[in-house]
Symmetry: C2
Subunit: 249 residues, 2 copies
């Protein structure tokens, strides 16, 4: 049997330093690598489908490892890893995959959900889990404007520079759904791939339109003429309202 | 205008030492009294409708204060208190009341909700907010058995001794509703008043019946013949699944 193990992982973003391994050892990747070391007696690398920033939550982050030898059954891996992990990180399921499987390069798409709490007061149990917006948001305008994102566009005005140059900034978005339930507005975005901070900048743009419906059309303009979009007009939604829901393969 | 102010307060139970003032100053009452001191420049006492244990959450805890003088409007009080409070405690609303109003003695009833997560794995965002039960629970039996609580009964086998003697242990329960949504089972209990740990012992008894439907009738028996109920048969649901939803006046 195989030695390449796929993991689906959920975590609370608040207590960790994001997905990617950090010197302080407090990233989710560090915690998973220590849990594997406990079981295997040696350190192996955990490869994630993508990085999530500090504060961002996951319900279905996906990763793979190349095991030194076939050892436990998938169910046993789930139990063994969860036993040594902090309770704010859970391995939901494991599965052996062909060695061609790669959590990042085999991914065909991702879905993120963003939570906005539209009220004067943020309930205590929503702290760290939603972006509080006190000003009333016009839902209909946000729903209509969200459609502008669907399709393949140049998202260069919806990313923060992380120092890379000449990266292709075109991405294909499959769906953006804006829904309201009580005081909570959720924005769910599915796409083939995402640039750095892209979902948070998309949500920021939708919130601006929700504040001022007169801005309708601004998103289409930023997608058509990204070089004309001023960096000052960008609103980045905070990390802690964001959840990585699933990675598709 | 009046000087007796009623407050409706929500809090995350996890970071605090319960409702009632503690030497370490980390109870919710301590935080509220410090917030009043910041605004008034002097310390006043905050009277709660009831104590909640460490870990228990609130959406609608109620309290009152006797102000040294009429000062701010209710809306201003909400804003002023929330400005100095930890974000995991929020004053939702304030209202001036006649001086006969007392948060505890005027209360006519309370509603609590308990959250059970019935799955092998507790999602990270549910840590501290639900009681994880891995064994399957039989919902129909729990729903049926919950009815046994409704009415006025001697709840002496559904309380933990807090050192009081000769306390009347009869209480009237108005409704107990057990509902399931996905993996989450909620138990909502409304009643005139509750003994110490009563809701958590009621939920513990419902979970035992959910595990072993053959125990049907055990709750009625414990209510009819409390002196025969063995302390060993008691299961106390953990604090962190409990939420005080509202206090009725």
């Amino acid at each position: 049997m195989g030695t390449r193990l796929k993991l689906v992982v959920a975590y609370d973003g608040a207590p960790f330093a994001g997905w990617q391994s950090q010197k302080n050892g407090q990233a989710v990747q560090d915690h998973l690598e220590r849990a594997f070391a406990v079981v295997l007696g040696e350190k192996i690398r955990v490869h994630g489908a993508g990085r999530t920033d500090a504060g961002v939550h996951a319900r279905g982050q996906t990763a793979h490892v190349e095991l030194p030898r076939h050892s436990l059954d998938p169910m046993q891996w789930v139990a063994a890893l969860n036993t040594s992990l902090d309770s704010r990180i859970r391995v939901l399921r494991c599965r052996y995959m062909p060695s061609s499987f790669h959590a990042r390069f085999s991914a065909r798409g991702k879905t993120y959900r963003y939570r906005i709490w539209n009220d004067r007061i943020l309930p205590p149990l929503e702290v760290g889990r939603a972006w509080q917006i006190a000003r009333p948001l016009h839902l209909g305008t946000m729903v209509a404007e969200a459609d502008a994102f669907v399709g393949r566009h140049d998202f260069s005005s919806f990313t923060a520079n992380r120092g890379q140059v000449e990266q292709d900034t075109h991405r294909k978005i499959d769906a953006v759904q804006v829904r309201q339930r009580g005081r909570c507005i959720t924005v769910e975005v599915s796409g083939e791939g995402f640039l750095y901070k892209m979902v948070r900048l998309m949500v920021g743009a939708l919130v601006r339109v929700g504040w001022e419906p007169a801005r309708v059309g601004e998103i289409s303009l930023r997608l058509r003429e990204p070089e004309r979009a001023s960096a000052n007009s960008r609103l980045v939604a905070p990390a802690d309202g964001l959840i990585l829901i699933r990675v598709r393969y």
